[in-house]
Symmetry: C2
Subunit: 407 residues, 2 copies
């Protein structure tokens, strides 16, 4: 493809105008929305208003008057259409890690004598670590890891819950959510999906797949800001029977009665623990507004086309660079990775030239494609710069090796 | 005291100028800093900069370049002098509820066969609820509640950890931290203090008292904003042996190696779980800056004097109103409560007249005294208005009874 052809695709793109909703820095080609989404233009004003008017002027009255107390459920309901959930099946709370802990312990508690958490090696580290922490704390719990190709057949009568990340953080390999969920159910296990690398970028249909539980983070494709609050999903059919181990006051049925005995709130409320983080919730809510009025299926198709363009252009310019992601676009999420022995300094050189992706050790160059604020010419140009950097050999291995990881 | 005498105290107050650090709304007498602290003037600009420059322009680079990755330890170190801790004994993370869970489970894990969490009935609800959630999840764990007068004698060889709130959220009754801690240690138990209602308002000396563990919230006297992140303290001598059950990736020794196996980080790092909430951390850090250069002992003495003035003025104007807090100023924190059968509508009437305190059912009017932004005339005037409201009988019981609690 020529640069003019990429420009023509932008001219015909119905989503091109959405870029104006974001404050993409001048001179930056941002291919890292899968790690930290770009700042939406409305977020600054929304956060400033929450600080100065709601907190500064309203003070304690804003818990009621500004709707603070309802924010976790209200913002959760706005995430629901992105993940195929009903509005009352999603709540915003805590971090992905903490939510994984809550749901895994709850799943184990609901599954009788089954004590195995089944997952894959190489899953996102916090998923593995949280499961290991539970195994170290609760008697008899075991974390079993099985290569993804053999997950379905490994679900046996000892497995309480299968925990997988829908789109892999390194390779972008995407599970068939419906098929794996069906396999879990066939063996009597619950299915927990981590949607951190998929929600907002690829189609996710939790209820269509019959999923039981899910978590996801707010700071990647949802554009909620660094360390944004996370969310969790519990299918309606499980809501009354699952119990959170983190029984904080905001999950109580009537927290403002200040009684001595815990009584779990109805629906998703019981998954709240502490006082909700209002400033961060305001930023996340503003981030989600970037999806307002957007045809999601068409948006995801654009994201896939962006990634396909990048893979094709890199393939023709850098024939020696190995794609570490599935070659079939339908089998991957919205990022792609390439393996390169000097991946770290190559990425540093790209960043110095304004192409921001990230590095995942030991050797992956990772690039994310966010259709809300990336165009075809952006992607074409990023591939061109990658080609120039690799052709030049202009990266300083020694200098960057000394620095530690680009996060 | 006359109003002129109160004004004279303000004129002689070395801390009077600190009020300019806060955006107290015009016409408001804010006696609720024990629930949600007032917005510091510098916070708006700091949060705006974090959003627009650090996130908007720096994007993913700010994890290193703007010090995001260090924020939990950096802000924790700023809390340390307020609670008598060393800088490396405090980290900011999650909510008070989640931190209570981490430390209680860790304490149980370190205490061999001891399986009792000892606390008092009427402790702040989330403390009780979190302990109950642990008892419902971990085999053999029991939550034992004993009236505060008999706590020390109730610590026996089955008690793993004593969990108490230093200053009671309703009455402001304050424990003798050193004496109770000593009693816990004499019986082989660990001591965990909840400092939510004391840190930043009264002297707290965790290491002086020999305390083992502590938690506290960021949104009361620390002025971190609604739902600000909380903090936790682990005495240096315990840091290597206690294990968090919430083993998220940010607590890993080397999170950016992305390995499959959890290895706890050194010092306080292991108490982190998910990705730190950067926007909220920026607000909390700005809130803590309000203490910069302040003589803490003298500040707390002013707070006590404010509360004493209020109690005296209310006592002379409203002789029938019963003080529900200790009469000895040395035995209470920085708020006081009065019992009134129509407490809820009385508080609503006060708020309508610009005096913001809060109501705690079934019958408490609660008023907090924050020496950073309250003056003697403010407090004198609040007492006068309370006297006027009570003398008038001008509260509408039926109207407010229908509305539910003021949070």
């Amino acid at each position: 493809m020529t640069r003019d052809e990429a420009r023509a695709l932008d001219a015909a793109d119905p989503f091109a105008a959405l870029k104006a909703r974001f404050a993409v820095p001048e001179g930056v080609l941002y291919l890292d929305g899968n790690s930290l989404g770009v700042l939406p233009r409305d977020t600054s004003a929304r956060v400033a208003d929450t600080v100065a008017r709601e907190w500064g002027e309203g003070l304690i009255r804003s818990w009621n008057d500004a709707g603070w107390i309802d924010a976790p459920m209200r913002v959760g309901a706005k995430i629901a259409p992105l993940i195929g959930a009903q509005p009352h099946e999603v709540v915003v709370a805590d971090s992905t890690s903490v939510n994984l802990h809550k749901l895994l312990v709850a799943a184990l508690g609901a599954q009788g004598g089954r004590r195995v958490i089944l997952t894959e090696p190489g899953n996102f580290p916090t998923d593995l670590y949280i499961a290991q922490g539970i195994a170290a704390t609760l008697p008899g719990v075991e974390v079993r890891t099985v290569a993804r190709e053999r997950i379905a057949e490994a679900i046996d009568e000892r497995v309480a819950v299968v925990m997988l990340t829908h789109v892999h953080y390194r390779t972008a390999a995407m599970f068939d959510m419906a098929a794996v969920t069906q396999a879990a159910h066939a063996a009597g296990a619950l299915m927990l999906w981590d949607l951190s690398h998929s929600a907002g970028a690829v189609p996710v249909d939790l209820n269509g797949a019959g999923a039981d539980l899910a978590v996801g983070c707010g700071y990647k494709y949802l554009n909620g800001g660094p360390g944004a609050p996370a969310y969790l999903f519990v299918a309606e059919r499980h809501q009354a029977r699952l119990a959170s181990p983190l029984t904080g006051w905001m999950g109580h049925a009537t927290p403002f009665d200040f009684g001595d005995d815990y009584a779990a709130g109805a629906g998703m409320k019981r998954w709240l623990a502490g006082t909700p983080p209002i400033l961060a919730l305001a930023a996340l809510e503003a981030g989600l507004a970037a999806f307002d009025g957007v045809d999601l299926a068409a948006l995801y198709a654009k994201g896939r086309a962006l990634a396909e363009l990048f893979v094709a252009e890199v393939g023709s310019r850098c024939p020696d660079l190995a794609l570490a992601s599935p070659t079939d676009p339908a089998a991957r999420g919205s990022h792609v990775s390439f393996a390169h022995a000097d991946g770290y300094p190559v990425m540093a050189s790209l960043i110095a030239r304004g192409v921001i992706g990230d590095f995942r050790g030991p050797d992956l160059l990772r690039f994310g494609f966010t259709p809300l604020y990336l165009g075809f010419e952006d992607v074409w140009r990023a591939a061109e710069i990658l080609g120039e950097v690799l052709a030049s050999g202009a990266w300083d291995v020694a200098r960057y090796r000394a620095r530690g990881a680009v996060t």
